[in-house]
């Protein structure tokens, strides 16, 4: 018994050691940190894209969910890891563009202190309201909110979440930053209370709310993108509905620690690009209501510029939000 056990252990060690001597990056599995719990929108995009990237890289991409503090815990761990190309992270609008204004003690600098890889997917943001609210379009809704802000309750999924970030931007632009905000742990419970009419409106990613809108249990005022979403072609864009300045998308993108070797970055950019060109992967992302990124946004430079652009857009609203 004893011999077998020791023999088995030894054999296993040898077999494992044997596998790790290939040439060039990557020679071992790459860890992709997802700073949110498994099953959320970011996690799903990471898994869909990571699945295909593994094929191009010839090494497994291991998804590691490190949730906490609006995603900044996981991104902090990834951005302070050894810059060897074996630790990358899938962040989103919140962790890269909104975090500096949301979390004053942030331990990474998303503008200058990271190595962007590329955008993986964008999800349109929808302004939705309970079905029996008087207002029936964005214009009358905006007018009602401005006239009587105290009558409205907005729901969001906690400080730092996409729904909080995008709704805070909306409230800032409407000039009602102090509007009653009801915090929930996750958009699921918030949606429940919106369907049952306990709260009046919220902003959320199209994938979480589109079925409810189709079923008529809640109503959608506008989608905050340049184009209408194929998932809900009847919902106007904010430009069409009369609030052109409210343009925001909940994107997800890959980044590595600053100082990651160029060879590794290039290979990762290439793998991401191939994944986004793959019909099957594309279809999966489109099913989620996601927008496939343009060629520019898939490059490190394009993605870096997007982070900077959105940070500038969000900064004033987030900093003046009541805490």
């Amino acid at each position: 018994m004893k011999k077998t056990v020791i023999g088995l252990a030894a054999a296993m060690t040898l077999a494992l050691a044997g596998g790790a001597h290939a040439q060039g990056y990557p020679t071992k599995p790459v860890t992709m940190i997802v700073p949110f719990a498994a099953g959320g929108p970011t996690d799903i995009i990471a898994r869909i894209v990571g699945d295909h990237m593994s094929k191009t890289l010839g090494q497994q991409i291991v998804i590691e969910n490190v949730a906490g503090a609006g995603g900044t815990t996981g991104i902090t761990r990834a951005m302070t890891a050894a810059p060897d190309g074996y630790t990358i992270a899938m962040g989103h609008l919140g962790t890269f563009s909104a975090a500096p204004a949301t979390y004053p003690g942030l331990k990474y600098d998303p503008i200058n202190g990271i190595q962007p890889i590329g955008l993986a997917g964008g999800t349109p943001i929808l302004i939705v309201a309970r079905k029996n609210l008087e207002a029936n379009d964005l214009k009358s809704f905006v007018a009602a909110v401005k006239a009587n802000p105290d009558k409205f309750n907005e729901a969001h999924a906690g400080l730092g979440s996409v729904s909080w970030t995008t709704c805070t931007l909306l409230k800032g632009q409407l000039g009602v930053p102090k509007l009653n905000a009801v915090a929930y742990r996750g958009t699921g419970p918030a949606l429940n209370d919106l369907v049952s009419g306990q709260i009046d409106f919220m902003c959320d990613q199209i994938v979480s709310v589109s079925e409810q809108v189709k079923a008529g249990t809640i109503k959608a005022f506008a989608v905050a993108s340049a184009q209408r979403s194929p998932a809900l072609p009847d919902v106007p864009t904010t430009t069409e509905a009369g609030l052109p300045e409210y343009q925001i998308e909940a994107w997800n993108g890959l980044a590595a620690p600053k100082g990651t070797p160029k060879e590794a970055v290039d290979k990762l950019v290439d793998a991401l690009n191939k994944a986004l060109n793959d019909e099957n992967t594309k279809k999966r992302l489109l099913d989620l209501g996601a927008v496939i990124p343009t060629a520019t946004d898939r490059t490190p430079e394009g993605f870096g510029a997007l982070i900077k652009r959105d940070a500038a857009k969000l900064d004033p609203a987030l900093k003046s939000a009541p805490r």
Binding site: I44, R47, G158, G186
Partner: protein, 499 residues
């Protein structure tokens, strides 16, 4: 009838060879990870998510659902044998289940849990099939105010649940509530009571606290009193419940199913309350409540049935509304969206084979669990015969790996050790840790719901009394509390006079 044609469609889907195999694999994996302390269904389902990419959505969801209720099943095994609740819902099972194991009735406890879960599972499947759609409306009746009152009622139940001093039980609940406030404030993002430690920024993880004050502290307690643990392995006793055991547990099992099934539908993880509520009810209506906490079979049958019924009815809000009531169901949403099915009110009409196939597979899965588990009962009980000097290092390595894998945070393991010390201290001070865990679980939700309700009512406490459901729940809470406190006060007074 419509329901029968739907169910036959479902069974047609679920009985295909591939789906049967997937259901079996799911149940087996679920049982395994449920038995291992620390590795919960959340971690496992998220890891197995990519594997399901290649399957069709129905098969994938059948397997993932199997893992989920299989884990609920397996979790009670660990709770009974080694007194570690792997999931919040197994906390109550430790109270009488582990006592039964100590009395050499481990096999009967495990058998009762398995049969109770099966009965509850069958019942819950029928409920989902028949009432899924209308019951959804119930979930919509519960706003923040109702939910807060429900939590208050849950905490009052916890007082009744207590063994020993009621004052000490109160202390534990309050401490649990206090611990639940540790971490970043949801609304303002301010850190509370964290000592500035980043790992505490998101609060204390349930598994860290539970493994610490139950798992590690139990090991410390057992090391101290070698006699107590030897009793567990001296007598193994019968493996299957006898006729008198079945008679005793039949009614608790039915009541537990109804209670657990009802609470499971509520949004925001109402299923957690099921086992607690069932235990309280059993203790209240028992002829001799003093047997509870000392190995009463009703204290295993009721909560275990409630647990399993709640685990299944928790699918109702997901399948009919598309709203996940807890973290595992949120993962299910993820699994469905990966396969291009956006959960919502339209799943039932647009993907009937998925909806009814899943429901039918739940019943099949429950039958499989019974078949897998009953022969295993003997094996699990034999595990108790492993000398304790070898058993506790094994428990420890499982706990360490499990805790690490919850968040991939090494510091969590050290925190668990700290809570182990804390739990050992609690034992030394005569505190019972179960109410602390309940206070902790409910505390987060309670604060969230209280704040939501008060923002919506613009700061008026009357909202809790003006809404009829909320007022009713508070009334029950007060009644339970009065009933629980009266005899104990009388008893204390007696002690003064007889001293």
């Amino acid at each position: 009838m419509d329901m029968f044609s739907n169910l036959s469609l479902g069974f047609g889907v679920a009985l295909s060879f591939q789906n049967l195999a997937l259901c079996f694999v799911g149940c087996l994996v679920g049982t395994l990870i449920g038995v291992l302390p620390g590795v919960g269904p959340i971690a496992t389902i998220s890891i197995l998510l990519p594997i399901t990419f290649g399957l069709d959505p129905t098969g994938a969801l059948i397997m993932l659902a199997g893992i989920y209720y299989g884990a609920q099943y397996g979790g009670s095994t660990t709770a009974i044998l080694v007194n570690i609740p792997g999931e919040a819902t197994a906390v109550v099972t430790t109270l009488d289940g582990h006592q039964m194991a100590k009395q050499g009735r481990a096999g009967i406890a495990l058998g009762t849990a398995a049969i109770g879960s099966f009965v509850a599972g069958c019942f819950a499947t029928v409920v989902i099939a028949a009432l899924g759609a209308p019951l959804t409306k119930m979930a919509l009746l519960f706003g923040p105010a109702e939910y807060f009152s429900l939590m208050v009622m849950g905490l009052c139940f916890a007082v009744v649940l207590a063994r020993g001093s009621i004052l000490k039980a109160f202390c534990m609940i309050m401490l649990g509530l206090l611990l639940s406030t540790v971490g970043t404030d949801l609304e303002t993002g301010q850190e509370r009571l964290t000592f500035g430690i980043p790992a505490l920024a998101d609060g204390i993880d349930f598994s860290v606290l539970a493994m610490g004050i139950f798992g590690f502290a139990e090991v410390l307690r057992n090391l101290e009193t070698p006699e107590a643990r030897d009793v567990v392995r001296a007598k193994i006793g019968r493996l299957l419940p006898g006729w008198s055991d079945i008679k005793q547990s039949a009614m608790p099992c039915m009541r537990g199913t109804v209670i657990g099934g009802t609470l499971g539908i509520l949004p925001g993880n109402g299923a957690v309350l099921g086992p607690f509520a069932s235990y309280t009810v059993e203790k209240k209506i028992a002829k001799d409540p003093s047997r509870f906490g000392k190995g009463a079979i009703e204290g295993v049958a009721g909560p275990e049935s409630a647990n399993n019924a709640g685990a299944q009815t928790a699918f109702i809000p997901l399948l009919t509304l598309g709203i996940p009531p807890n973290a595992v169901m949120a993962l299910m949403v993820g699994a469905m969206t990966i396969h291009g099915i956006i959960p919502g009110p339209q799943v039932m009409t647009r993907n009937p084979e998925l909806f009814w196939g899943m429901i039918a597979s739940m019943w099949i899965g429950n039958l499989m669990l019974l078949i897998i588990n009953l022969p295993l009962v003997g094996l699990w009980v034999k595990l108790l015969q492993v000398p304790y000097r070898l058993m506790f290092p094994a428990i420890l390595i499982f706990c360490c790996i499990g805790i690490y894998s919850v968040n991939n945070q090494p510091l969590d393991v050290a925190f668990t050790a700290m809570f182990g010390l804390f739990g050992y201290l609690l034992i030394k001070l005569g505190f019972e840790p179960a109410p602390l865990l309940l206070g902790f679980v409910l505390g987060k939700l309670m604060e969230e719901k209280l704040r939501q309700a008060l923002i919506i009512s613009r700061g008026s406490f009357m909202t809790f009394l003006e809404r009829p459901i909320s007022a009713g729940l508070l009334l029950v809470a007060v009644a339970v509390l009065v009933v629980a406190l009266m005899p104990s006060m009388a008893k204390k007074r007696d002690e003064v006079f007889t001293e």
